[in-house]
């Protein structure tokens, strides 16, 4: 009987371990951010939602621009990911006339402005500053939300970088901008029920009458998806947690049953009963 019990503890421990590795497994299962790293990013930025330059997570994008330009990039973010956008603006070397305030805004595929959980989204650069760095961490993207909610949903995310306040004399001076976005998987803790039929990518309905002959394929500002395609929103490590919980419960049930039996058959049971 002792052997049975030790075996049982071993099985229990094993199940626990399985649950742990399970979560780790789930984390690696969703598109990992580092896999899509691409050394040479785009060197131009768009100037509107329609012309936004597509970038990928962990791909540094640079652009030369004039102070006052509105620079746009677009990035795919999938359910369960938390995106962080970092931007660095190298300010003009020539003498400037005062402080300038730079701002990084993020919009979703419906052009709704998305809140930054943390990060310096707006920053004033002093008159003699060489550069200014901005950052914005979005909320975790959910696979579904009510139509009345402003929750981030899987799809395109637009990054807009611009100067929002500056002395008029400094308008038009050359600047260099560098943007880098990264995504982190948040795991099943943020997995919600429901799923969109299509990610929030503008022009998702292919039946667009205008986008037929005159529009070159694949270059609509955001015809862009993450490496490995969009996730279905069906998988999360909640499956593993729940399954592991079920196994553990079953084992605990067996253990509980065994406890009530004591060791071996009851001594008073006559043989052959």
């Amino acid at each position: 009987m002792r052997t049975v019990r030790t075996l049982m503890t071993a099985v229990l421990a094993g199940a626990g371990l399985f649950a742990m590795t399970g979560t780790a497994l789930a984390d690696t299962d969703t598109p990992s951010p580092s896999a899509s790293a691409d050394a040479a990013g785009p060197t131009e930025a768009g100037t509107s939602f329609r012309t936004a330059t597509a970038i990928k997570p962990d791909q540094p994008a640079t652009a030369g621009a004039s102070t006052g330009d509105y620079l746009y990039w677009v990035l795919p973010v999938d359910a369960g990911q938390r995106a962080t956008v970092k931007a660095k603006v190298t300010l003009p070397e020539s003498a400037r006339h005062g402080a300038a305030t730079w701002q990084l805004d993020v919009y979703d595929g419906l052009r709704r402005r998305q809140a930054c959980m943390y990060g310096a989204q707006t920053k004033a650069a002093a008159k003699d500053a060489g550069s200014v760095e901005l950052s914005c961490t979005l909320r975790t993207v959910r696979s579904w939300a009510e139509p009345w909610a402003n929750d981030p949903l899987p799809g395109s995310y637009y990054i807009r970088l611009t100067v929002v306040d500056l002395p008029q004399e400094d308008l038009g001076l050359p600047v260099r901008a560098e943007v880098r976005a990264s995504t982190a998987d948040t795991g099943g803790a943020h997995a919600v029920d429901g799923a969109l039929a299509a990610p929030l990518v503008p022009g998702a309905s292919t039946a667009t009458p205008q986008a037929d002959a005159s529009t070159p394929p694949g270059k609509t500002a955001a015809a862009h998806e993450p490496d490995g395609g969009w996730s279905s929103g069906r998988w999360s490590d909640r499956w593993l947690w729940t399954a592991a919980g079920g196994i553990l419960a079953a084992l605990a049930g067996i253990a509980g049953y065994q406890l009530t039996r004591g060791s071996g058959r009851p001594s008073r049971v006559p043989p052959g009963a």
């Binding site: 329609r50 611009t162 001076l173 029920d193 005159s214 947690w241 509980g256």
Partner: protein, 425 residues
Amino acid sequence: MITRKRLAAGVCGLLAAMTVALLPTPAVAADEPDAKSSPKVELTLDVSGSMRARDIDGQSRMAAAKQAFNEVLDAVPDDVQLGIRTLGANYRGEDRKVGCKDTRQLYPVGPLDRTEAKTAVATLTPTGWTPIGPALLGAADDLKGGNATRRIVLITDGEDTCAPLDPCQVARDIAARGIHLTVDTLGLLPDAKTRSQLSCIAEATGGTYTSVQHTKELRDRVHQLVDRAADPVVTPVATEGAQQCAKAPTLKPGLYSDREKFAEHRWYRVEVPAGQELRASVSIAADRAVNNDYGVLLRASTVHGREIVRGSEAGDGRTDVISSGLRYPKTPLEDADGDGKPTAETVCLQVSNSFSAPASVKTDPGLPVELAIDLVDGPDDASDAASFGLGHGWWLLGALVLTGLLAGLVWGWISRWRVTVWRTN
């Protein structure tokens, strides 16, 4: 027709600007299907007398511009149709009326013959006035036809000397024709008046303003702008929203442009079949000087006026556009009446803005509106907060183990009790 307008522009600028604005949307004509139209760019160069000043890297502004042009012409992408227009290149006299009509096309918009274009540029010598407004009108004319994007790159060293035709207003009127035209401006002299005028022109058309101090900057920027023109982009279709939903145009999925005045709202209709999701986004551009605080409201309502969902956004400070969006999944009908015809609901979309402007700012034409409509399959609605109602975390495991253990114990006791009962019997 437009040629006639140009004539008028020379004689009485303001009136011309107003008539152009009132022109019944030639955008519709410009949107004639012309499948394989390539993007068009017109470089518009100021050849006024002041371009003689030698203040760009020790050479004259004209020389710097020529050098930049030569290098840019070498690198123009093949699918771009490029033309060159000059302003103030010919008339030396003092007569303002004549000087202010002095703009001509140096090289026609079309497939580029590099040698020919370079030769044409080499002949230029700084001469006359700075008629920016007429030059913009001329350039817009040169770029006529086709449905591709159009871009004017305006390089100048001074403000327009041909008042009262305000080049900024001209630019806005050209943009209001709905011909996807962008004006990018490059200023060779950073004085306050030039800067404000050029940035105003750029702002009015969604273009950019650059202040140039070195030849390299000039070349890089012109090159960048020409390259940008070559990037294919979806062009919106002009539409005109109505004051009420009942009279509103019905929109299919696609990208639309419209104009909306300050504090005006416009209605559009979309047919949303049952089981499909409507996605609409709207951007309203601040193409002129507006007051500091502004907002946009996009509202979807039923034909009876009940609001379904709205998207709104407010902002302050310098901006290019203010945008919002909404999604409305139309639930599939449970009790389909069996005739297999998908029922569609007419959704009224209302776009309103809360921009305002100082009294000195012209309100006509209205602010550019960009409306994107998408129809996709409806979502799988959530029936639980968590994905499929599944659990997560150590509390779940603990609870399950405890439950399992208790169940095992109870089961064990019950069976022991049964054995005992059986034995006593």
